[in-house]
Symmetry: C2
Subunit: 332 residues, 2 copies
């Protein structure tokens, strides 16, 4: 295997000159640079990562902890996000290293080991919703990291994050339905204790109030299951006879769709309209209109913040909120 020394010998220069040819080519005289580059080319040389990592005390690796996926929930967001993240990191000369905790219930497990062994330079933190001890922990240790998700529980928290404006996403959904003539638009959401759930619900309230549409007895809250969506839809339909449903998630929306099937109604623009949230595979496959998170853009922004952080640059704006878009399909 070719090393710096091999190349140096072949080009008739010193090791350091070869190193400079790669890292600071502007230091070399053009003809030397050319000669070295040819030698590199000829020998098929690629710098050894381990040696470079050791010397520079960097790894160009970004750690991402995979959280256990919830079977049966419609999402599958992670898949799309991962792709985008890996793509963005590649363009930044970084790589994504995955890890899982030994102890799933310890939100900090895994970070420490990677950090102390200098295996990664930084982290991307997801699932900040159930409190974010990781963020505080990493912050305290001055570890570079960027979060996907706001610190809901601690709005003062001062670390870089990127998030989606769920509230605006739901406003889009309500606008869409109201523009189609719907007036009795129901909300099917999560428990009050969910920050994300309440944020999205506020989007519904925003527009319903703005358009002076009724909201009383048109809102249901429960867990993120198909079963809840189904029950909620039955109850709402018996009560205020909504003509449209905006749901906090695709999972819940799937339940609403089932309720419509139960009752022999059609989920469509001209009967009962339904909108979900996440643009999951289930939505794509069942033709459910849904709010789509711009995961590609999120990944790009996360990597941008990460680069700033790694370069010790403090970015002007280190908290970024992106607006989702509505994917209109058969159910509305």
């Amino acid at each position: 295997m070719a090393t710096l020394a091999t190349v140096a010998a072949a080009a008739g220069v010193s090791r350091q000159t070869v190193s400079n040819a790669l890292n600071s080519p502007e230091l070399l005289r053009p003809d030397t640079l050319e000669r070295v580059q040819r030698a590199i080319e000829r020998l098929g040389y690629t710098p050894n990562r381990a040696a470079r990592n050791l010397r520079t005390r960097t790894s160009h690796l970004v750690g991402l902890r995979l959280e256990p996926a919830v079977e049966g929930s419609a999402s599958g967001l992670m898949d799309r996000f991962l792709h985008s993240l890996v793509e963005s990191t590649r363009e930044a000369g970084l790589h994504v290293l995955l890890f899982t905790p030994e102890d799933v219930n310890n939100p900090l497990d895994g970070y420490d080991a990677l950090l102390r062994s200098a295996a990664v330079d930084a982290f991307v933190v997801t699932d900040t919703y159930r409190g974010n001890p990781q963020a505080a922990w990493l912050e305290a240790r001055q570890v570079p990291f960027v979060a996907f998700g706001r610190p809901w529980e601690d709005p003062q928290a001062c670390f870089p994050w990127v998030d989606v404006d769920g509230r605006a996403g739901v406003r889009l959904a309500v606008d869409h339905l109201a523009d189609k003539g719907h007036e009795r638009i129901a909300w099917v959401g999560w428990q009050k204790s969910s920050y994300i759930g309440e944020d999205r619900r506020n989007g519904w309230l925003d527009r319903m109030h703005e358009r002076e549409l009724p909201t009383t007895r048109l809102s249901a809250r429960g867990e993120d299951t198909i079963e809840f969506g189904r029950r909620a839809a039955h109850a709402l339909l018996e009560g205020e006879h909504p003509t449209a449903f905006v749901c906090v998630s695709d999972t819940v929306a799937m339940g609403v769709l089932q309720a419509l099937v139960d009752l022999g109604r059609r989920a469509a623009a001209d009967d009962v309209a339904v909108v979900g949230f996440d643009d999951s595979l289930a939505a794509q496959v069942t033709g459910l209109t849904s709010v789509r998170q711009p995961l590609e853009e999120i990944a790009v922004q996360i990597v941008r913040l990460l680069e700033d952080r790694l370069a010790m640059r403090t970015s002007d704006e280190q908290n970024i909120i992106l607006t989702p878009e509505l994917r209109v399909r058969d159910t509305s």
Copy 2:
């Protein structure tokens, strides 16, 4: 940051002794070992990965190339597989490094760079279905790797792989339906050019013949889209009036379900039964009975073969075929 030397000084031994305490504790006298371990504990020492990698010429990283996900296909297999793989690698002291190609159309892109920079020790290769130049390429370079998927195009190929017995999976599905009394069981599959598709279809043929059930005009083949599933179901229903459908994928099955909705029929055990393949999120969410690939077990086996390969052990059986199971839900 604590290093070997720091710990050695603290424990009053040489660097090498500390190194041995970690890597070959059986070489040390118990009391020395104890003393060193206490020093390690006290100083919170963790070996530096870069240094270890450099010296041992290993990285304990496994590369996995993320292939572009097909939007709109129901799968989402990768998500589940990744989780399991990361979990299994962790137990083996390895980590998963993700990468994507710059040029998506070049199936080899990305491998070379990681390899030459000694960034990874091995690869896990997926998507071997469209020919497997990666496998041949890696094999030629004697790079340790394990494939998820058989070398369909070159059954002679001699490298370790793990795959799912799709044929057996479909046999399960047909058995299930036939046991429920169905006799006119249709097949909705992929084009003849798909090895995987034909393999699964053979499972259908196996059981239909064995049980002396009719197969003529009960089979359709096309692409992996909802639209195809829908059209195929309409055509089949008009023709031979099947009472059950076995589908090559959940995506196609979703189309079949839609066709039933079109016709006002119910997908259920007592009307028209439908079975999909992959146990995707869409299946879980819509209550579609489906054949589930044992991805957890696949990951375990892949890592086992990988360990053998990395240790230069030649495993007795380096080709493993696992049998999927049937997840019975509402549609059958």
